[in-house]
Symmetry: C2
Subunit: 346 residues, 2 copies
């Protein structure tokens, strides 16, 4: 952990607005054949011949979505890209370009921005995405990052939230709740750090849950395997607000009900142990904790054979008729209505 106000910084005014844009975007080369023109004109130009364009946008606000005390700027830049890439993946499409707009207060210097953009560059490289535009301006408080991602999808592959039907299997691509428990741990250690700044927290053995919070990944690998195995989910959404909330979105838009089996919801052991330490129910963390960025999708049972190449596939329940409602089958054998409690940013 570190106090972000302690580093001497180069004033962004030294570069000027256009100088700053050049400085930040110069390391980003265009590598996607569809990126005809990137930063440096009034707009980016994208050649999408025959594909559908998929478009998603997210805004991250300091003090609301991230805390500089435990969120290094490089990780933050990476995560800001991932959040958007994950939305494109949830459409069963391939992310291709992003625009990055930032507003920053005078607390931020050129070195800070270099760190932020190093993280953005790392995510772009890892997910083979071109940075093609953006806006930089000042704010009177903190840092605001607004990213828009563009993806390409074949018309018959694009997957909406609305295609699930009774009998479909409800699946997730990985374990849940870790990012939420990781955040609780970071928040606790922040309080310790504030009272005794010389003591650095020891996260040994907690690297998994910390990593899930600070450096999440989007499941582009899963989308690519869907394409390779010619498996098209009937509905899909990414888990940014929490499993329960996302199930409600799919059921609402598909006009269905669903049940999930508590015992089938994948939870990492570190998540489970730390949740219990915090006096939290692990299944509640998995259902209502956000920011795991796994994919939640439904598949026709006839397609199950095609799913065998997926590295991580957890069948956690089933889609039911709308009249059956949305239910949780507990490990103890009880059936409860599921509560949709996602992240609240207001």
């Amino acid at each position: 952990m570190s106090d972000p106000n302690q580093n001497p910084q180069t004033d962004v005014n030294q570069l000027g607005e256009f100088g700053l844009i050049d400085h930040l975007t110069q390391p980003f080369a265009l590598t996607q054949p569809s990126s005809l023109r990137g930063v440096g004109d009034d707009a980016a130009v994208i050649d999408n011949q025959g594909f559908l364009t998929v478009l998603s946008t997210d805004m991250l606000v300091e003090e609301i979505h991230f805390d500089r005390i435990y969120h290094p700027l490089r990780y933050l830049g990476y995560k800001a890209v991932i959040v958007n890439v994950s939305d494109i993946c949830a459409m069963n499409a391939i992310p291709k370009q992003i625009t990055v707009s930032i507003a920053l207060s005078n607390r931020y210097g050129v070195e800070d921005l270099d760190e932020l953009y190093a993280g953005i560059a790392l995510a772009c490289e890892h997910y083979r995405i071109d940075l093609v535009g953006g806006d930089t301006t000042s704010s009177n408080r903190g840092l605001i990052i607004s990213i828009t991602a563009v993806g390409q999808g074949e018309p018959d592959r694009i997957t909406y939230r609305s295609g699930a039907k009774p009998g479909d299997l409800l699946c997730v691509s990985g374990d849940l709740g870790a990012a939420y428990v990781g955040l609780q741990l970071l928040e606790r250690e922040k309080q310790v750090f504030i009272s005794t700044p010389n003591v650095q927290p020891d996260f040994e053995g907690q690297d998994y849950i910390i990593g899930r919070q600070l450096k999440p990944e989007a499941r582009l690998d899963v989308v690519e395997l869907f394409h390779k195995s010619n498996l098209k989910p009937t509905a899909m959404i990414d888990i940014s607000d929490g499993l329960a909330s996302e199930i409600f979105h799919i059921c609402k838009q598909s006009g269905t009900g669903a049940f999930i089996e508590e015992a089938k919801v994948p939870i990492n052991q570190q998540t489970e142990l730390m949740a219990i330490k915090f006096g939290l129910d692990p299944i509640t963390c998995a259902l209502s904790g956000g920011e795991d960025y796994e994919l939640l999708f439904t598949i026709d049972p006839a397609d199950l054979e095609k799913a065998r190449y997926l590295p991580d596939l957890f069948i956690i329940g089933e889609i039911t008729p709308a009249a059956d409602g949305i239910k949780l089958h507990t490990s103890g054998g009880n059936i409860y209505p599921l509560q949709a409690q996602g992240w609240k940013h207001f």
Copy 2:
């Protein structure tokens, strides 16, 4: 003028995040054939068969780009869309879709957002654009609006900043400096209003310059006439930072010089009179004032005949070889190097 803190407001928490999104976006129907799916999934889906996708993004930050005391939210919503539409027009493309992300402090209530979105809706209707996505979140200070616009362009019509060549005519689509002088007037009246809040300012006779600042338009009409008359500018940019700054962009990216004739730069009479009242040189306002959102473009002199249908076409100078530099020919017969002083947001 009004004090934005005086209105009783409905708390946005009453609606919840998804309820708020539904409430704000429900009036927006999709009307563009290319908008396959809008708000309500992980991403919007756009069908761009055969066209190029053009993508632009801008962020407006309270206290930096707008002042609630004289910027009604309805106008602000309109202007936030225009700023982006203007960038798409500057590519010689047709705006089709936008995403709107907002972060807002708890000073803002549902009625405020309704006003903002009413302005956004008006701009969407006027420019035939679909709102297809966005993000809403909270901020600890003020309102931040980040809009991304998507346009369509035929591959052989897209116009970059980089295509100007010596001998091309340098043209603007309308008069300049009004938005800047309008801002000076609003700032002066704000000071009067702060000291004597009961006295409402009288803007009679100043409606043009006030309107240019508060409710600018993008020159989509000019772009449509380019297409109709089969005239393709060799280079184009929109005037958001000021004429001089934009000329520098075109010259830098085209590898040319340019000269402009002071006497040919169109300045509205209201702008001229108010500039003089403020002790400002009208030509300086036109050269360095921003936010006029007119188009600056270069055309091959052989195409001049095709330009006769344009409603507003002012030939203000010419593109020259790079070695000649970027010059201002004054009305008095002098030649000076042009100074690039655009808006500075840092």
